[in-house]
């Protein structure tokens, strides 16, 4: 699959960042070759990808197309020769990166983008060893690369502006939020901000004012919640009340001159300080290993991204835009409506927030999945986003749900949809929700939809092109057996076995 012109990628370096890139690229259908000489590299990268797949499935419900393949090599030439983009994520060492970039430059095609994940080294110095420096730039991501949208893009003196544009388009197509750092400085923007906070945090621990857990609590129960959607300036503008930013600065600006931070010094990383931090960090982790912690982090990030999506705030807007693009890509696949079998238009997975205290899917989530299946049916008969925008839609007026078994956390589900009857205004449909065993339904939904003018809210006949597709589907489904459970009412005895 091609994403913004990219079919094949090379990830040089298979650490946490390189593996995160591989996971994001493969999820978007791009084949990836990871190049890392470490004997454990493949195992480590596969572990990160496994974790990433879990989180990405929760975020998106499933991949929009077939995942790209992930291959391994320890030979840079093999990794880069067919790649459209090379993402270098080697250790933060100028000499190491120079050696790698010189070799990448030698073997990569002239059209390939060469990007480095460096969090602080300057691109002008990095590209000094390259013969084709115009295609080189910084694409600095944030951990976990497969979930966090931010990527800082920064060119060096010899970077072509066209390369910057191209890289930003690629990153956007990967569901990221590229931020063009227009002035080349050490550490770019985000790491300078994070480092400033981190230094202060180190002093608080060094001076025994607080433990690492207390410092973390001072962030995550307070300012951190705001930083997830608004940065520091917007937060302070609001804190200024009706007087805005100017009032805030006049009120709190003087406090900047107070000795509230350890401005002038950096704590020396003595063995004693390292022991203290590592020891307190162990207590804070309370026995959880890094995989447990990664899953907690990813669950939280997925939940935050999903929560911000309907509000279009911050990263929520990025997720919403990517979802629209995915829906568009799905809508392009027209299903065959002429086959004498129920349609299989919708798949879902039982997400972490969907289960009750028993670990079973909560009642109303069944109706959510059936509603999504109905949307897929509507799209298949031509009632898509453009159709809705034009002022017509199908509304559900009645549903009869039967719960026959339980769907469990993480279970993969699909819906089989059968048309029972229709006329110009009505659609009568039966959905079966099938669990991961593929057998008898977990639940069924019999639903009636009315074709409406969304402005007036009144029913109206569906147009000929929708009726034509419905006729095709009806002809295919008319001979299917009447579903067990359809046409029944809720009753004390007659409806339950």
């Amino acid at each position: 699959m091609s994403v913004a012109g990219i079919r094949q990628a090379a990830c040089i370096g298979g650490g946490v960042i390189g593996a995160g890139w591989a996971a994001r690229l493969a999820w978007h259908g791009i084949d990836v070759t990871v190049c890392d000489p470490h004997p454990e590299a493949e195992r480590r990268v596969r572990t990160v990808i496994e974790n990433a797949e879990r989180a990405l499935t929760q975020l998106w419900g499933g991949p929009v197309s077939e995942r790209g393949a992930v291959n391994f090599t320890d030979d840079i030439e093999i990794a880069v020769k067919d790649a459209d983009i090379i993402q270098e994520s080697a250790p933060e060492n100028m000499a190491v990166k120079h050696a790698i970039l010189a070799e990448v430059d030698r073997y990569a095609s002239a059209e390939a983008l060469v990007c480095t994940s460096t969090s602080g080294l300057r691109p002008t110095e990095l590209q000094s060893v390259m013969e084709r420096p115009g295609r080189f730039l910084v694409g600095h991501p944030f951990n976990p690369v497969y979930l966090l949208p931010l990527v800082e893009v920064c060119g060096g003196d010899r970077t072509d502006s066209e390369s910057i544009e191209r890289a930003m388009a690629v990153y956007r197509a990967l569901g990221m939020q590229p931020l063009h750092v227009r002035t080349e400085i050490d550490g770019f923007l985000a790491d300078r901000l994070m480092e400033a906070l981190w230094r202060e945090a180190l002093w608080l621990v060094n001076d025994d004012v607080a433990t690492v857990a207390e410092v973390d609590d001072a962030i995550r129960y307070g300012a951190g919640l705001r930083w997830a959607m608004m940065g520091t300036f917007m937060t302070y503008r609001i804190a200024g009340g009706e007087g805005g930013m100017r009032h805030f600065i006049s009120q709190f600006g003087p406090a900047l001159q107070w000795p509230w931070t350890k401005l002038t010094d950096v704590p020396e990383m003595t063995d004693a300080l390292i022991d203290k931090i590592a020891g307190q960090s162990d207590i804070q982790a309370d026995g959880a290993d890094v995989r447990d912690l990664e899953r907690q982090r990813d669950d939280g990030l997925v939940a935050i991204l999903q929560a911000l999506k309907p509000h279009g705030i911050g990263a929520g807007a990025v997720v919403a835009a990517q979802e629209r693009a995915r829906v568009g890509a799905r809508a392009a696949e027209t299903p065959d409506l002429s086959r004498a079998q129920p349609l299989r238009l919708h798949t879902a997975q039982v997400l972490p927030g969907w289960t009750d205290y028993n670990g079973h899917m909560t009642e109303y989530r069944y109706l959510q999945v059936f509603g999504d299946a109905a949307d897929a049916l509507f799209a298949a008969i031509g009632v898509d986003a453009a159709y809705l925008d034009a002022g017509h839609s199908y509304y559900t007026v009645e549903s009869h749900l039967r719960h026959l078994a339980e769907a469990s956390a993480g279970e993969a589900l699909h819906v089989e949809t059968q048309l029972l009857s229709h006329d110009a205004k009505r659609l009568h449909v039966f959905h079966r929700l099938i669990g991961s065993d593929g057998g008898t339904p977990v639940a069924t939904a019999e639903q009636m939809y009315l074709h409406v003018n969304t402005e007036s809210g009144r029913t109206c006949p569906a147009p000929a092109e929708v009726m034509d597709r419905l006729q095709t589907l009806s002809a295919a489904h008319v001979g299917l057996p009447w579903p067990d459970g359809a046409g029944r009412s809720v009753g004390l005895s007659k409806n339950r076995t």
Copy 2:
């Protein structure tokens, strides 16, 4: 109402912080007197409370009990004389706070807690003017006070440890996360961390490296999403991969010595810099006024808090604990089951994330509200949390939903529940969802529930105490008219008017 022994509170100072305290206290049923000499104080505080009510209703669905009254005065004696807790939120000026605290100290009862919202002044110096300094401490909250859980608690040299304990219990009962700052330093913990980041941000803008919007983007699309649930140390521990915190420090510790931050200096707040920041901030706000921005912020915070709740991560755990306490308080009110009218056990509000692109409540949210109404019914017949823990429950096996009108964003809804029939294993119930006009139902749900052993998943008879309550309810409901729409099946013509 009494919350951790508090019935009456005084808020000295009606700015953004004081008003936020008033909103949080009143929401929890505590009467508040706000003392502020400014002629606009009452209007400003009422505006903040109105915004707060909107956000708190979204977060909690509704208040657990009657809201406390909010009164206004410009006389400290009147404000504090009957107060169990006094929260001072005057400007950050030692002389101003000294004058206020001396007066508060004179008129407050000996048992009252006297707390200051100072974000950085030391309690030992603040309490030096008090005759009863043992009851004085810092309770430093974060904006918006009514949503963010963090409150830093810090005593001075003469503060009683019992006062610290008492204040922490009060703040916890108000749904907050108190963090005891054990070492008295200027700026405590959170503001030192925020200030460090803010200084660096000011330099980036001062030096024209980035605009305020770019700085904010560098936070909210990346590290900010992590800070909403994990602080800086836990984030870096995970970044260390399998090697953990020690590996992270060995890899990134040296970078701390690089000149990535403007360590040694503070930008001078010249008129030119203030103009630059305020101007860029105006562009970033794009015409939105502070109320618009507050609503955006609050919508996002509510969404994040709700999203983190099922995962029990960070602030989500605080919200979950508060919700359990609220459910416990509600369960203590036993409804009268003997009245010949449908039960009114559940209210809800159409939350921002519940609506589709038309601004109408999404289909599956109707079933969510009916499910919550069913839980309220179960609690009323004795099937509460303890009952579930003991291994029995009612499971929904069938639902018939009819959509008769639309519920809109923000609309207040309630459910009326009628028992149609029951036996030892089955409950047959009809719910009507009533909109804010109080008239004909927006939707109805006919549901069948089975009494089950949750371990085996099999049906079993309900015990005598549940059957007794059901018998009372049945005797009261047997004479009610059969609901329009009950007992029907989904059909092309016979079920729709």
